[in-house]
């Protein structure tokens, strides 16, 4: 079974802090994605990566950056956390059959 893990289930940070969310997949997938999920809005794509060191902006990249130094690891960085970044963050990797496999999510609260 494909496994996608995220570094934390719950995280509480203060406004202005730099926040790192890590995601690791174990199936050698090329493409990885970061989404945020907010009530009533579904999932929105923040960034995605199609190879090591390659990244593309999604629909809502403002305030975020990403890093993919190794194929299995895709990190989301909040350069200076703000309260409007309080959300559920979901990482996914995509298989050759187009399915996406999701991690359990990180619920981030910025106070």
């Amino acid at each position: 079974d494909v496994k996608v893990t995220q570094s934390s289930r719950y995280l509480v940070k203060r406004t202005g802090e730099k926040v790192f969310l890590e995601c690791v997949q174990d199936m050698d997938h090329e493409n990885m994605f970061w989404y945020r999920q907010d009530p009533g809005l579904g999932l929105r794509l923040i960034y995605f990566s199609y190879d090591v060191k390659m990244k593309e902006k999604g629909d809502i990249p403002e305030g975020y950056s990403v890093s993919r130094e190794k194929k299995e690891r895709f990190s989301l960085i909040l350069e200076s956390a703000s309260t409007n970044q309080t959300s559920m963050y979901l990482c996914a990797s995509r298989s050759g059959t187009n399915k996406q496999y999701f991690g359990p999510g990180t619920r981030l609260t910025v106070t």
Binding site: L41, L43, L45, G58, T97
Partner: protein, 111 residues
């Protein structure tokens, strides 16, 4: 941007009944996928239907796709309490595999 719109937003049924939810989208797609999310967890892939397919089955799931109407439906037959979850449709719109999600349908199945 939100591509898919699910209908209804919420659905409450009894065990053994069928649950039907609909999804409409706006642009051309490569495929349409349905995902399930149990409360506060990551998403699980249920079924994928390609743009040149009209109907697909997987166990108690039946998905239809009407590209002329830009709509899809998911039918869960003989619902169980364990089917209680939120269901999301997602459209894949490009070769990178980016998905655009709707806001979801919350399904509650009571014993």
């Amino acid at each position: 941007s939100q591509q898919g719109e699910e209908d209804p937003q919420a659905l409450s049924i009894q065990e053994g009944e069928n649950a039907t939810m609909n999804c409409s989208y706006k642009t051309s797609i490569n495929n349409l996928q349905w995902y399930r999310q149990n409360s506060g967890r990551g998403l699980v892939h249920l079924i994928l239907i390609r743009s040149n397919e009209r109907e697909k089955h997987s166990g108690r799931l039946r998905v239809t796709l009407d590209t002329s109407k830009k709509s899809s439906s998911l039918l869960i037959t003989a619902s169980r309490a364990a089917d209680t979850a939120s269901y999301f449709c997602a459209t894949e719109i490009d070769s990178w595999g980016k998905l655009q999600f709707g806001a979801g349908t919350q399904v509650v199945v009571t014993p």
